[in-house]
């Protein structure tokens, strides 16, 4: 099976056809040790609703980690937007108390930050303002 995976990867990764296969097989070995935040049972349930029933638990792990990275990248982007927006707004409001305020600032994720972050991923979110 590993040989097959390597073949698939070599077809896909045209840039480095010889080296891409090797880290992937190492990565699959590592997957057993890493526990993703999303529980395996939840991943399995949603995959089953799509008709996908893997026997290999590493498949579940791989999909869970990919999903977590997806959310993690969006969260990271949204955090940068949040920091940028709050630093802009605080510098325009008051300059004297700013130095202390930025250190222990609490960040709250709002749609205002999430929408531009998702737009960078090519996802357009339009929520009606009155629906909470």
């Amino acid at each position: 099976m590993n040989q097959m995976v390597k073949d698939e990867v070599q077809q896909n990764g045209d840039d480095q056809p010889l080296t891409v296969g090797q880290p992937l097989s190492e990565f699959l070995m590592q997957l057993e040790d890493y526990t993703p935040t999303i529980p395996d049972a939840v991943t399995a349930h949603y995959l089953n609703t799509a008709g996908f029933e893997p026997k290999d638990p590493r498949l579940l792990r791989l999909i869970s980690i990919a999903a977590q990275k997806f959310i993690s990248d969006i969260a990271n982007d949204a955090l940068q937007h949040c920091k940028m927006r709050s630093s802009n707004s605080s510098s325009s409001h008051n300059n004297s108390k700013n130095s202390k305020g930025t250190k222990d600032r609490r960040y709250c994720l709002t749609m205002e930050d999430l929408t531009p972050a998702l737009a960078e991923f090519g996802i357009t979110v339009k929520k009606p303002q009155y629906f909470v």
């Binding site: 935040t37 999303i38 995959l47 999909i63 994720l109 979110v125």
Partner: protein, 108 residues
């Protein structure tokens, strides 16, 4: 809000908990409810989408048992670079949600 929590499934609640955990680990202290719902819905769609495309690739090859290659082809179709995943698990300490405790039904 209470009515909403009663109608959502336990799987979806766990997805929301996972999203919240990721947000906390990135340094957010709080989040709006609609943001959390949006991210949960996206996560759920992600699972359904990767499940469907992997299954289709698997059946296209005349197999019933999905292989890792099918999932990787699904990732490629969704535009996800799976070579970055190994860096991701090295860089981030993945937090594990506490295991669920069986809930006692209050006696009437």
């Amino acid at each position: 809000m209470e009515k909403l929590e009663q109608t959502t499934s336990p799987h979806r609640k766990l997805l929301t908990a996972a999203v919240s955990s990721v947000l906390l680990s990135h340094g957010f202290d709080s989040s709006d409810w609609d943001v959390l719902e949006t991210l949960t819905e996206m996560l759920q769609c992600f699972f359904c989408e990767i499940g469907q495309s992997s299954k289709n690739y698997c059946e296209l090859s005349g197999r019933t048992e999905p292989l890792i290659a099918d999932v990787i082809l699904g990732f490629v179709e969704m535009g996800i670079n799976f070579t970055q995943l190994s860096e991701f698990i090295k860089q981030h300490k993945l937090q594990v949600l506490p295991t669920l405790q069986p809930q006692q039904q209050p006696k009437q």
